[in-house]
Symmetry: D5
């Protein structure tokens, strides 16, 4: 027995699909959504994406990061295989770490119109220093707007230990 | 000497019982409760359930998660062996990660009428991405309703490190 | 040189005492106290007790837990060797996990009349599930009463990782 | 550009294939192989399989294990998606831990005729005890036969720390 | 479908059995065995037993240890639920750490006549020092006799880090 | 394709540049900035700098620290390679740990005029004691001023475990 | 070049000094201070002191602790080598764990007149139980007085895992 | 002062060089060497390369691995920046995990003619299983040939713990 | 019931004894032994002693170490409480790290005449460097003499990670 | 009481000495030794040196490493404070990682004429790759010569996990 019927998975074309084509460059158009079956009760969904890679826009050198995306769904939710393809589209794309995180967040806001979302990237070091950008967003006019500010103001009071090894 | 008398364990039929029958599919009816002996003093009980498995509703592939269930009991409490059987009933059942967590929470609310409850699932990755849904609930009209909102708004400010290994 | 004189350790009969007799069953009477020398300045004392064991009241099977007891002393403080003997008295006593934690807290409240106390038990799994009860208390009429509520409402927002190994 | 041509991936029908059917019970027939391109130079390949689950043949209760499979290929190598389906076929199959590990090893020996193979299962506890079987094999008449004995005789001199949490 | 038939589980009376009676003191008679289905191929089975407790024979104070038992089966194998009951029988029994480990090994040798066995106990500290005894055995006249000596001679070259916390 | 055009990286002279000259002593003048492309949306950027070293102003002995710098950009952002050179300029400079952290924070405030910044240094021990200074700043007249106070007041409630090994 | 001139290190007699004499018993008089160069900007300084040892006032048995001292300096700051000597003076001094922490805090308050200070000791176990006292202080009449209360009220919501090994 | 003169770094064109061009596909020609100044004394050099990525030759999906390369130099040694560019050239190249490791080892043997070399790749999971190939080589006619066999025969007796998270 | 009778604990005067007197300086005379009940079967006993402290013979500064003592008993075994007192006698004694470890080993050899013994001390750093001496011994004329050499020759091939924090 | 008399610490001029002068560049002349009091019994001494830093001879960029030095003393032993000063002398010296390790080993051989020595450096990454050289030496004509070969041939079969964070 399965808990989702055909109607409820409408719009999902990539999950379980064989010949997936991988995009060559930044491709927000691959993102897909499905309907949120619990729209009246706010809850969190987190994606752990430790296999992100992009290019340095100045030197062309590859960059690597573990990205965490956490959001409170509105009426639609992002499908995870399409998210994988979207993140994969940065593979041969050049951008600063800080820009990548803001772009990902903004694309997901446009896609899903979530109540809340935050994106945190943790990159590997270059020259002994690593960079971890964090951005977030609460839907204007909802109580999640204030939550976004509070979460930003209390962000990362306990930085994790990094020793470059 | 034992602290619970016969009256106080009434309703427990599975714990200590031989020949337990394991259900074939989603079976909320196996859940059992016992009486809360400390009803006037709110306290938390947490279940750690790292052996959860279900099926993907699209591909049929098995999914695995560690689930944490935390609640503040009202007058009845869920018996842990029946909880084990209930979670086991998802073994051959297909549902999205996000739906599973909401279903488990709602079944336990119906069963126990708790003052507060939260359910957090942490799944293993597929295609390099893992998904961790979190939902919670505070009994309407009690101060736990506001607690639920505060806990949701402050949820997971420090995502754990995931590297898919 | 020693910082405590004879007067200040009055009431301590077990610490440093040879032929300690170990009780056979639940024995709150073994608990002893000594005077708090800093009564005008609230502070915390935590006991880490990873060697707790009791029996399942239904099956007789032994249970194991790590218990943490944290309190803010009033005029008297519990002596740690007597606490050890008290916890040891659960060794052949049968009670549910949730009951044990509430009983320990209530016995210590009666003994010391502390300003604040909390007890957290973390048990080993049976059938793949482990149970962690947490209870706390603030002395009525003091500001610790509100603290108790706040600590309960914010309890365990970051459940530790459990994998049963 | 790709390093394997069509000829070299002949026999792989499951990897990249959409409508994979998941078997209901123990199914060694789903295993597939591909050709080893480096047959003249012995090397190791290890599979980490932390998502194994089977049933207790006596109680029907689900068991969980992390399995490690390490082998030195001969002329054919097992394809990993077919290995996934094979391991998945134990999901509703009942067998003792020790039997499961021996069965998996023997099936892979029959399939690939490897020079060397070892299988190590690490199960979650039941009643406070967990069981970790380990079996291995070296192809008779090769120097890997002696290696198998030496690896068995020196097996697990440093058991990992287990605390059931 | 199940891999073990009735004949092959003959002699197992405790696993899956409801009203198990827990022994009051050291009880080697509760140990049970079942037949080894792979007797012609030596392999290891390890039991992780982190919930062992006994008493100090001098002071009566409870002792706690994590015990690891590793063996190579001969014709019979110890059943794990009976092993649990056997280890539980030390709960109210007084013996030195070093004696407990030797007794457990000798009882299992008598029970199973294994080809090889080793027992390693890791106790919690008393007075700032903890004790970890390790004993092993190889069946005389087999090649496991020499393995036992080699494993003993190379025992624990990398002691784990202990800080009593 | 690259997300930053020439205009947007104006002012960056060190990143991707060959013959970088390393300064001999404290050199705030090497710091460079680039434009913040998301100025209307506050977000955090963290630098992990585990390779900091300076000298003791009294004894000349080298000191080592892991420094974390977290800030909310205003209109300009510090370029990471120039930050590396700046931190490197402390290599042969003598100053107390507490002074170094305050100097770094003040130089970055002058450089970038950030909305918020905090600097946390964690030094290695001398004589068995290690020192970890933490300072922060919120831009006066913005809501980040109050954030700075709140973050300071809630600083480091959970000191990490240090054992000098 | 060095950031502190002679005037700014006035009062430091021990750092860099040969032939330091180690005191025989509790010696608050060895503590030295230096001037805070950033008095208008509140910041934290933390000392990690994992090598603390004293004696039990009842049994004479040595006790060991890791102590963390965190403070917000006023006009003077404690010099770390003198702090080392001061803590060393407890080596042959007998006092209860709870008393030691309060004494250290009070001595440092008298010495430096800090805006805020907290002292947390984490001792090794005796008889299976370890004790962790925590005390703090905010200068009366400053906003740090309220901070002290808030930090106490929110103290240690996530007790670290202790297993006595 | 510097320990290597111009003559001794002859052949290094990439290290310290600005406009490095990153290759589009598998490019062994970018590898560079420098002279070994200690040729008469065998020693090991290990490269830790946790940022390796390639493509699946069947599905085009990106794969990620941490690669360890350990070797004993002969007369020439591989320069690390050229090694970085070489490994980067697999970024858009499709090959099986097992093939990638063998190719890397063979390219480095051709380049440096080392006395010994081993390559170990640890990939992230797909469908719940991860693959870790290991290959090695000892120069024929030297004592390193036997070392290679011994290291292979004793490879990975203690597989690391993997839980896909 | 207790496994050791009065005869078998003859010679133990300190364990369970109240008014233990703690020695002022190096005191090998406090060591006590008891009879080994398993003399015909060689086995290991390890003591973990993480609370060792002595003084620097040059500066008088206290030193701290975690000591591991592993031995194979002959006819007598060292009693652990007397070992505690013996190690405590170094508290106000000055000696180099390397000398302390050799002295402890030699005292225990004289006391117990063991078949094999090794002592490993791991000290905390001074000036950024820590020292870990290791010595061992096999009884001349027994096979443990060769074991001692082999263990020394293979000592510590995998040094633990130390970062002074 | 102190275990080393004046005669036995002859040659130590730096330990406990105030105005230590720190050398500007590579300075093997600062190394000092003292007599080995246990010359007839071979034992190991390990130095953990996690605070090593040098310069890249090509780019001038600072490099950081944790170095482990393990040796078996002959008649003289290196004094640790002089070793600290010696390692500090690399601070402004440029050399390849591989050269630094060989130079350190050779200097210590010349200084102490040890029976055995090994030096292992573990550097932080540049461009995503880190380098760990390892060299060792056994005194010719002693049995330590063969030990050196065996330790080299079995070096680092279990590379530690590195993720550049
Ligand atoms: Ca780098
Ligand atoms: Ca790290
Ligand atoms: Ca996958
Ligand atoms: Ca991980
Ligand atoms: Ca269980
Ligand atoms: Ca665990
Ligand atoms: Ca269990
Ligand atoms: Ca564990
Ligand atoms: Ca103790
Ligand atoms: Ca520990
Ligand atoms: Ca540490
Ligand atoms: Ca621990
Ligand atoms: Ca993991
Ligand atoms: Ca030091
Ligand atoms: Ca450390
Ligand atoms: Ca790491």
């Amino acid at each position: 027995m399965t808990g989702r019927n055909q109607e409820e998975v409408k719009g999902i074309t990539l999950l379980g699909n064989q010949g997936t084509a991988y995009p060559d460059d930044y491709a927000p158009q691959v993102l897909e959504t499905f309907v949120n079956k619990h729209p009246n009760h706010d809850y969190f969904v987190k994606f752990n994406c430790p296999e992100f890679t992009s290019l340095c826009p100045i030197t062309g050198q590859p960059d690597f990061a573990a990205i965490t995306i956490s959001y409170v769904p509105g009426e639609r939710m992002v499908e995870s295989k399409s998210l994988k393809l979207y993140l994969f589209s940065f593979r041969n794309h050049g951008d600063f770490h800080e820009d990548c995180m803001n772009i990902i967040m903004n694309d997901l806001i446009r896609l899903m119109d979530p109540k809340y979302i935050e994106v945190w990237g943790k990159f590997t070091p270059r020259g002994g220093i690593s960079i971890d950008p964090y951005c977030n967003y609460g839907k204007p006019g909802t109580r999640w707007e204030e939550v976004a500010w509070n979460r930003l103001a209390n962000h990362d009071l306990y930085p994790e230990k990094i020793d470059n090894r």
